[in-house]
């Protein structure tokens, strides 16, 4: 069964245009001008139950708007949308019982009262029986190590402590789909790892479907089997992470440590028969970039055969670089032109 089924989903906002100057302000007073902005442009995707899907894109690409439509907060302008068997904005109060949401930038706990009191109130809001609640809370508290935080007021928690509490708060009613909007923003590496491990475990044990937006690609690498990439309101990539890497990486880099001083012209002379580029780091070391079109063994052979080498390191393009490349070109054009290599 599909956890999320989205078809031609679109969201337009009317944004007020402010005209310049005093006369503009006077005109605005009587007749407002509006500009239509399309934040999400007819996107279509499906997420089966039990999948962890990463939803990435630049700031302003439309990620949060999509999440807000999927969680029933926003009403879409057009398109079809079924989440967990409901149309979110139509049956909002029933629908939200089955989902959990964490907004990394926004707290859902009550600021002035103790963490445990917030949890108790949520228990009542979601109508969770006391016994189920206790069992689940104990389990979550143990796994996320919240033990001594429970009685503190939320405003006295550090960001990492608060975020772990937020995650617990979103899971108390045992939702089958969890939406995480930048859950690791501003957290240190220890807390990030803890949260990732926890999410993976939850997905494995309970089959919880997770949709995650993030700017930290390590989150994606650690968690997601699938990535949906958004740019300017449209989906530009939807598929596996490995495939994304192989498709979009342009080649790999080899770092050589030479036994003798090598000039840039000497290096270029070595590889003049193939289309590669050198980047000299110092007298003894240089990096060679080998595009995917060029045979790796040819390149290695030429360099190894022509120079005295002490050490070799091979770098695969990391996801950060790939994604930065995609964001900068900002379109799926490249994807269709380049052959898929997997």
């Amino acid at each position: 069964m599909l956890a999320i089924d989205v078809k031609d989903l679109r969201k337009q906002f009317k944004v007020q245009k402010n005209r310049e100057g005093l006369s503009g302000a006077m005109k605005d007073l009587f007749k407002r001008q509006y500009q239509e902005v399309t934040a999400v442009k007819d996107i279509t995707f499906q997420i089966p139950q039990g999948e962890i899907c990463g939803y990435i894109g630049e700031n302003g690409a439309g990620k949060s708007t999509t999440i807000k439509m999927l969680t029933g907060i926003l009403v879409p302008t057009s398109g079809e949308l079924v989440v967990n068997g409901y149309v979110p904005h139509r049956e909002r109060e029933k629908f939200v019982n089955g989902i959990g949401v964490v907004f990394g930038q926004r707290s859902q706990l009550w600021w002035d009262i103790g963490v445990i009191e917030s949890f108790q109130l949520l228990r009542k809001v979601y109508g969770v029986p006391q016994a189920d609640f206790n069992k689940r809370l104990n389990n979550l508290v143990e796994r996320l190590q919240l033990g001594d935080l429970l009685n503190r007021p939320v405003r006295k928690l550090s960001l990492g402590q608060r975020m772990r509490c937020e995650i617990v708060a979103s899971l108390l009613h045992n939702p089958s789909i969890v939406f995480l909007d930048e859950p690791t923003i501003g957290l240190d590496i220890v807390v990030k790892t803890e949260i990732r491990d926890f999410l993976l475990e939850m997905n494995r044990e309970e089959g919880t479907t997770i949709l995650l937006t993030t700017h930290d690609l390590q989150d994606i690498e650690a968690l997601c089997s699938r990535v949906i990439m958004l740019d300017d309101g449209a989906i530009i990539y939807d598929g596996g992470l490995e495939q994304l890497k192989t498709t979009w990486s342009k080649g790999r880099e080899i770092q050589f440590q030479f036994a003798e001083v090598m000039s840039i012209s000497q290096l270029q002379a070595l590889t003049k028969s193939i289309a590669v580029s050198w980047n000299r780091e110092n007298e003894y070391s240089a990096k060679l970039f080998v595009p995917n079109e060029v045979s790796f063994s040819d390149a290695m052979g030429l360099v190894v055969g022509g120079a005295n080498i002490r050490d070799i390191k091979i770098f695969e393009t990391n996801t950060d670089d790939i994604v930065r490349g995609i964001y900068q070109t900002g379109s799926a054009e490249v994807l269709t032109k380049e052959p898929v290599l997997s």
Binding site: V96, R106, D112, K124
Partner: protein, 264 residues
Amino acid sequence: MTRVYIDFIRMRFLMMLAYRVNYYSGIVIYAINIGAYYFLWKAIYGSQETLAGFSLEQMTTYLAISWMARAFYFNNLDRDIANEIRDGSVAIQMIRPYNYLIVKLMQGFGEGLFRFMLFMIPGLVIVCLIFPVKLPTDLTVWATYLGMLVFSFLINSQLNIMTGLFAFFVENNEGLMRMKRVMVDLFSGVIIPIAFFPGWLGSIMTWLPFQAITYLPSAIFTGRTPLSEAGHVFLIQFAWLAVLMIPIVIMWRAARQRLFVQGG
């Protein structure tokens, strides 16, 4: 579900209790207000026995009960809602399986209950000791008045909710909130009983909801309006309660369509 909403009343009550010291100064401010208006009206009455159907004694009682009622029904729901809309935290409220506006109303009621018990009742005792207030002796008047006070709270809260929801449609509704506050105080009859308004304004007032908040219940309490007309007052209050639901529902529906452009 109802139990959840009741829990919101309880929570807000307890939260207010934690900040109760802030309210002791409030009682003094209200007593000063009542005193100032008492002396003003005393000067206006001069040697006159009655003005606009109020004796001076009734007027004093009217002032005391109206200000004390204001202590109960007054709340900051407009500001709460406008702030939550502006900073985008209303999004969090939408992922919960409850009705946002009812929750707000319940929080307002929790605050109202707190103000009733720790502000209105002690305030009224203090005011009665200082000024020549004549409280009704008939228990039915008290009971009727308390019933009307609940409607006062509901109607005032409806106006507040509407004002707050305007934050969805305009960038800044600060001015609107201030205007509403002044309008409610003036037109509901807290500052001047509506009987003193010039004829044309008085007749406009009968077509507006404000009089149902303070003037009509207080007139019953002071005995200016006989108890036999209480049914009519209840009817007016109930009618406004029902009528004001309509714009709120319409605004809420429209708001859902254009929600949360703020903050991405």
